[in-house]
């Protein structure tokens, strides 16, 4: 038994060392995994505007009067903001942001109605989760318009009042500058990692078929899982390098903060990569030639990672069908996890559902790839 495991490890090592040589000798692989992502990140690192609605809003109503309820109603009536419930006090808002029950919170201080009746200018606070810069920016514009309208209504109800009585004071948490690069870079990093990882491995098994070396391999005692694992290892190393490079580049070029731990970041990248590399293997096990594998690999990673990961379009705004579909797209969990680690400093306690989802995906695709990998030439 021990001898069998040792022999198995030797064969996996043989495969990994050989694959490592292919990588080092093929400039295209190195460019695709290290050069291209940085280049693309640089080119695409600037935000684009997107429309959003149904933003979850938490309410901290410490006034609890007719007037304060009217204000909340005015904000949520248009459905652009949706109330997700009341919080007891402003201190609970950060918790809600962290757990992502809300991306915005309206805080109405005690004495709101009294001040209104006394015809004073009343400040209310709108707290916005700035980690999502696109959402944050639009939210600010919308909230401003809504409060202004409510304010006008109040003013015109009173006789001859000209100063709008309610003024919004905005606090943006996590991303005080509202920089969209903060929002885009983790998404882009996830996206680039997704497509390159799938392509890297999609080419390798298909390559063995095309070059004819599969015949020699199958005639030898090397097992299918040994081939799969041996091929995964060097690309995992390369992928991790790519991941770190992209994140480091994001920090240097876009002042991306790194508020969480490096361990959480590396773990997230590792589990994600395993899944994407496994997906590439699955594609190439089925495709058997490099052209088809490239196309299938691109299609299966590029579009879903771009459109369904929440990188550009917030998942909460998608049609329900697509929201469900996005659950099987690993990039979704990486985008989400990365934003958490980089921008909010989330640790494993918050990250674990993302990690778990990624781990399940990795296990399933690697298992499928091995099962579908037939030890037959024809």
């Amino acid at each position: 038994m021990k001898g069998r495991i040792r022999r198995s490890l030797v064969r996996i090592y043989a495969m990994a060392a050989k694959e490592g040589r292919h990588i080092v000798r093929d400039p295209r692989t190195l460019y695709m995994s290290l050069g291209m992502p940085v280049l693309l990140l640089f080119l695409f690192g600037y935000g684009v505007a997107f429309d959003i609605d149904r933003i979850p809003l938490a309410v901290v109503d410490q006034d609890r009067t007719e007037s304060s309820r009217a204000l909340v109603h005015a904000l949520t009536a248009s459905r652009e903001l949706v109330s997700v419930g009341e919080l007891p006090d402003p201190a609970a808002v950060l918790g809600a942001f962290r757990q992502e029950r809300a991306v915005a919170a309206l805080v109405v201080d005690e004495g709101y109605e009294r001040a209104l009746l006394a015809r004073e200018v009343v400040p209310v606070q709108l707290l916005v989760d700035g980690a999502d810069a696109l959402v944050a920016n639009q939210l600010l514009a919308k909230a401003d318009a809504l409060v202004r309208a409510e304010s006008q209504r109040l003013a015109s109800a009173e006789v001859g009042e000209t100063t709008p009585p309610v003024r919004v004071k905005v606090w943006t948490r996590y991303n005080p500058d509202g920089r969209s690069a903060f929002y885009m870079v983790p998404g882009l990093a996830a996206y680039l990692l997704a497509i390159t990882a799938v392509l890297l491995t999609a080419l390798t098994i298909a390559g063995e078929w095309e070059r004819g070396s599969m015949e020699q391999l199958f005639a030898s005692p090397i097992g299918r899982l040994e081939i799969v694992l041996g091929k995964l290892l060097p690309y995992l190393g390369l992928g991790l390098l790519e991941f770190l490079l992209v994140v480091a580049f994001g920090m240097i070029a876009f002042d991306l903060p790194m508020r969480g731990s490096g361990f959480a970041l590396a773990l997230l990248g590792l589990v994600f990569l395993l899944g994407m590399l496994g997906q590439g293997l699955l594609v190439s096990v089925i495709a058997k030639n490099q052209t088809v594998a490239t196309q299938a690999g691109t299609m299966s990673s590029l579009l879903p990672s771009l459109l369904l990961s929440g990188m550009i379009f917030p998942i909460e705004n998608m049609p329900v069908v697509l929201q469900h579909f996005s659950r099987v797209i690993p990039a979704r969990y990486l985008v989400h996890g990365l934003r958490g680690v980089l921008l909010k400093g989330n640790g494993l306690d918050v990250l674990w559902p993302d990690l778990l989802a990624l781990a399940v995906f990795a296990l399933v695709v690697i298992g499928l790839a091995t099962a579908r990998f037939q030890r037959r030439l024809a």
């Binding site: 050989k18 004819g212 005639a219 030898s220 030439l377």
Partner: protein
Amino acid sequence: MELHPERGEAVREADAAPALSARGLSRRFGAVTALDGLTFEVARGELYGLVGPDGAGKTTAIRALAGLIRLDGGEARVLGLAADDHAVRERVGLMPQQFSLYRDLSVGENLRFFSRVFVLPREVYRRRAERLLEITRLGPFLDRRADALSGGMYKKLALACALLHEPEVLLLDEPTNGVDPVSRRELWALLHEFVHGGMTVLVSTPYMDEAERCGRVGLMNRGRLLLEGAPPALIAGFRDEAYEVRGGERDRVEAELARTASVRAASPAGERLRIVVARGAAPELARSLAPLGATLAPVTPDFEDLFLSRIREEDA
């Protein structure tokens, strides 16, 4: 002191089994029947040649014996075990027909890779690689990439890779295709050496003349064995006669030959035509060729004559 008598029997049975056994192998690829009930056996320590024209099914047969393809019917066994049994792989060496090593790896790196796949200890690898590089004379090219080797050198490297684990059975698919005559002779000399050492070798070739170098040959056509036996016995049993056609206008002579039923095969031999004629039919053919200015000269039949006439007979 046999603790597992039934298992002991199975082992003895496996030991007594032929090195290779193909029983009624069949395999279709769409409309093409690559193997059509192919049956033959190779005894231990035998050098068996599978000879046949392009598309005869030689590669498919060898792949079946290496456990690499699905069969529609029949059974392929190696050393008494099913061909796709994991235990067989440590004891069989395969040299595929097509390029199957890693082009971007050097000679040494390819060897090292296969030695690791077979989990050879380092010292064992070093000793065997040294010997294999010596007999294949690839030593000076240790650092050359596989895709930069000549056809003959590549074949020798593939052979070396297939021999590293010292297999009991060696399967070689057209090892001499694209190899110069000198290397070809060397390769055959090596095969004879291996067989003397007790190895079983199955080798396929499209070159009829190479059949003579085998202990036993099987002539394959359209996925079946047409003829099988030791080369001298096969020649001795040849029923037809071989002639060379001299003189006459080539086109008209060929047309006349094609018209004559007793002519089993005709193939160009330099300036002349070499033909196989049914026994006793030569005088009549000579009479019909005379007006064209062509004459017949008897030659000693060889394997090519034998095989060509049998294949034509079969195809007709």
